[in-house]
């Protein structure tokens, strides 16, 4: 029978992490509820045989020093963030048994979002919520659970509904969510309640051990110091006043129906071989077939959104990659995005690419009039300009630029889809500049066009664009 009076092994017999001279006593005030709950949790860890994998998360509040007492893995966390920290622990190491131990300010004020969302994800953790309706550590300020009329150091005239809002009832809120498995409110007002609290704590841990999901145990606890009462008065206040606002009971319990293991997640250790294979599967299917480049290309492709100018850039860049060059592609940024033009910059270079953004292209494709207006003057002297003459009404300066006018969209329409006007332009670019041969580009398109039902139309479009340039001589 002597064993009854021993501390459980999950509770340190001496508190080595406390400062000198205080290693045998807790830091809690006389009549405080934390000591009771700590002991019940430590006993449950021990009795359920999970001491070797228990991790205890203590956020800011009077229980910030949980690691003084629990002979388990210990994380101290930021104010309100225990549920997020517990999520990070549990998801990364699903074998661990993770408990967060949080006060009312922590869990129901600054950490409300973390609390609600960990519950909503059904994290397979056990949350112990000590509700004593006051901020203890910082000196007796109003908590989210402070009673209407209760005087605190920040409600010196008593909490009012209008000035401060009503006490927040977390069990009731969380019980509306589909994911949580077990939500209950217990008290420490008398020995019968303490027995119920002990059972609830064990049940919460058991549910986690079985992979049955999220448990939330709210424990109404006395704070004689914060309440300015002696311990018997505080217990009396707890059962007579607090319980009126925070009724004890089970708010949700689907632990019997819950399937064991349903809420277990997977986190596999780093496997170098598996990662190597996975990363290799991301590589381009294009094989390297070098094609010499006489001159670095700085291209800009511009038109309406939906004309495929960005895709045109992606196609040409990948041809450049296959040919063994440095390539870059970037969509328009900043002020260029205004004024009815969508555009992208593509560089194809023999050496390192400097600015990825092309300010002065030597190849410009314009597929609408605003693009012609905006970019014609930026082309370097003697540069190429390709104009969709069926859409643009203007004509570029043929003295300064090498201009190719072709009704790309009309040509594409005849082939069967206006959407391939961009590839008509690609054919025209290759034919006019001679950078890449027709077969070379079409072989590349066969590989990089993902929607195979559109492949033939695209290849016809390329040929049509090429042909249009040849006919123009």
């Amino acid at each position: 029978m002597a064993k009854v009076f021993e501390k459980p092994a999950s509770f340190y017999s001496e508190f080595e992490r406390k400062s000198a001279g205080h290693k045998k006593t807790t830091h809690y005030c006389p009549g405080c509820g934390h000591g009771n709950v700590h002991k019940m949790i430590a006993e449950a860890i021990e009795d359920l045989g999970v001491a070797e994998r228990s991790v205890f998360v203590s956020p800011v509040g009077c229980s910030v020093f949980g690691y003084y007492y629990f002979n388990s893995g210990n994380f101290q966390s930021a104010h309100g963030r225990a549920a997020a920290v517990a999520t990070g622990i549990k998801r990364a190491n699903p074998d661990s048994i993770v408990m967060s131990y949080q006060g009312d300010g922590d869990l129901a004020a600054i950490g409300t979002a973390e609390t609600v969302h960990a519950a909503n994800r059904g994290e397979n953790i056990s949350v112990f919520f000590i509700n004593n309706a006051i901020y203890g550590m910082t000196g007796g300020q109003m908590a989210p659970t402070t009673m209407i009329g209760q005087r605190t150091t920040t409600t010196p005239r008593g909490r009012t509904e209008v000035d401060h809002g009503n006490p927040v009832r977390m069990c009731e809120i969380l019980a509306t969510l589909p994911a949580p498995t077990f939500i209950t409110r217990v008290g420490l007002g008398n020995s019968k309640q303490i027995m119920q609290a002990r059972k609830a704590i064990r049940k919460a841990l058991q549910i986690q051990i079985e992979g049955k999901g999220y448990s939330f145990v709210e424990i109404l606890a006395p704070c004689p110091t914060g309440w300015k009462m002696d311990p018997p008065e505080a217990r009396d206040h707890l059962t007579k006043v607090m319980e009126e606002i925070f009724p004890l009971g089970v708010y949700k319990d689907v632990s019997d129906e819950a399937e064991a293991g349903h809420w277990n997640r997977i986190s596999k250790p780093f496997d170098v071989e598996a990662r190597h294979a996975y990363l290799q599967s991301m590589k381009t299917p294009l094989s390297l077939e070098p094609v010499p480049l006489a001159k670095d290309l700085a291209c800009k492709f511009a038109g309406f959104g939906g004309q495929g100018v960005l895709t045109l850039g992606l196609f040409l860049a990948q041809v450049g990659m296959k040919a063994g060059h440095q390539v870059s592609w970037i969509p328009a940024y900043g002020p260029e995005m205004r004024g009815g033009t969508a555009n992208c910059s593509v560089n194809i270079c023999r050496g390192r690419i400097g600015a990825p953004t092309v300010d002065h292209p030597n190849v410009l494709v314009v597929m609408n009039q605003p693009s012609l207006d905006m970019f014609e003057d930026t082309v370097v002297d003697g540069g190429w300009i390709f104009v969709d003459s069926g859409i643009c009404t203007g004509v570029p300066d043929r003295k300064r630029l090498r201009a190719i006018m072709l009704p790309a969209t009309e040509i594409a329409d005849k082939i069967g889809s206006p959407k391939v006007a961009n590839v008509v332009m690609l054919g025209a670019i290759c034919a006019a500049t001679g950078i890449f041969g027709a077969d070379y580009v079409k072989e590349t398109l066969r590989i990089i066009i993902k929607r195979k039902e559109l492949l033939d139309t695209n290849l016809l479009a390329f040929d049509a664009g090429w042909q249009a340039v040849v006919e123009q001589g």
Partner: protein
């Protein structure tokens, strides 16, 4: 060599996977969202963890939980979201946990816009959160470096048990380039001397940043400070381009340095002796290299997408050895290479043009 044509943001996840990162926690924000998209696709496929968190605050605290287990974890965001992570980063640095955090910087302050800026330099290199701590901060300027420097960031984070940050911008994140696919390597660090698993072997370890006694907290801060000095002594990385005979050295990092490469080539064609010094680590800052450049060059020009942040570190390194000029654009305006060239010409002509 296996290659792929990909966005800088996707290359970050490629590097993270090769580095053995097992958990990604994030919240969507433009222009960093592709990182979360890629993580959500690839992490679960390899038995890793992906959570779209309820907030940036929650995401960085999930990182804290996983990192405390000695498992590689990361998060990524853009400026407003990165501001929200400062609390968690201070705790992670205080508890000496390794992790990688990415900031694809956008225009600020406040909601600003989604265009590229480099105005989070102070926040990243000088702290951001409360207390005496530093982030190891790397500034890639290509998709390949987004991958490679992410891998390096994980190793540096583990080596020094400190958060490491990748600072990039909307252009470097959105731009597609050819990336050599990296080879995963075993992680050469043993976490069991400090990580917490709950078992008897790691139970003496404690993940915490609280030191109630002033003597203890001072001791902890001094220990961190020694660590930071060691990082400053050993982990500075920078690159130079055509500086050997340069009269004017331009200091620029990230996307700005890419534009400066072009400006320098144009300047050299015009017969101007201009070179580039690019910090790859922005903390620790390559002060020594800048000081040496200032000995040889007649002038220094700092170009940033900000109203002048890194320029202060350059001035501290130069210590008046030569004039330090500044050229900045901000709000999402990006200078062209011609603009930078004009500025170089103006400075070399004695500032008269």
């Amino acid at each position: 060599m296996a290659r792929q044509f990909m966005k800088g943001n996707d290359a970050i996840i490629l590097g993270a996977l090769a580095a053995g990162c097992r958990a990604y926690y994030g919240y969507p924000i433009t222009p960093a969202s592709e990182i979360a998209h890629a993580a959500s696709l690839h992490f679960p496929a390899l038995g890793g963890v992906f959570i779209q968190a309820e907030s940036e605050v929650a995401a960085i605290n999930m990182v804290y939980g996983t990192a405390g287990m000695g498992i590689r974890a990361m998060t990524a965001s853009s400026s407003p979201g990165f501001s929200l992570k400062q609390e968690g980063l201070s705790y992670i640095a205080g508890a000496e946990l390794p992790c990688v955090v990415v900031n694809i910087v956008r225009g600020g302050p406040g909601l600003g816009n989604i265009a590229p800026e480099q105005a989070d330099y102070f926040q990243i290199t000088k702290g951001g959160g409360h207390g005496n701590y530093r982030l190891i901060a790397l500034a890639p300027n290509s998709a390949q470096e987004m991958c490679n420097l992410t891998m390096l960031a994980f190793d540096l984070a583990d080596k020094y048990r400190n958060p490491a940050c990748i600072m990039a911008d909307g252009i470097t994140g959105q731009m597609m380039e050819v990336v050599d696919i990296p080879e995963p390597k075993p992680i050469p660090f043993d976490h069991r001397s400090w990580a917490v698993h709950g078992d008897a072997q790691t139970r003496q370890n404690l993940i915490s940043s609280i030191f109630l006694e002033p003597e203890e907290l001072e001791k902890h801060n001094l220990k961190l400070d020694r660590k930071y000095r060691e990082i400053m002594a050993h982990e500075v990385r920078h690159e130079t381009y055509r500086t050997e005979d340069a009269d004017l050295v331009v200091v620029a990092y990230g996307v700005t340095s890419r534009i400066v490469y072009s400006a320098i080539d144009q300047a050299r064609e015009a017969g101007l002796k201009v070179g580039l010094l690019r910090p790859i680590t922005i903390w620790p800052f390559p002060s020594q290299a800048v000081a040496e450049a200032a000995q040889k060059a007649k002038q220094i020009l700092v170009v940033e997408l900000s109203t002048g942040q890194m320029v202060e570190d350059v001035q501290l390194a130069v210590l008046g050895r030569c004039p330090v000029h500044f050229y900045g654009r901000c709000g999402g305006m990006v200078p062209s290479s011609n603009e930078i060239l004009s500025e170089c010409e103006r400075i070399l002509a004695g500032g008269k043009n």
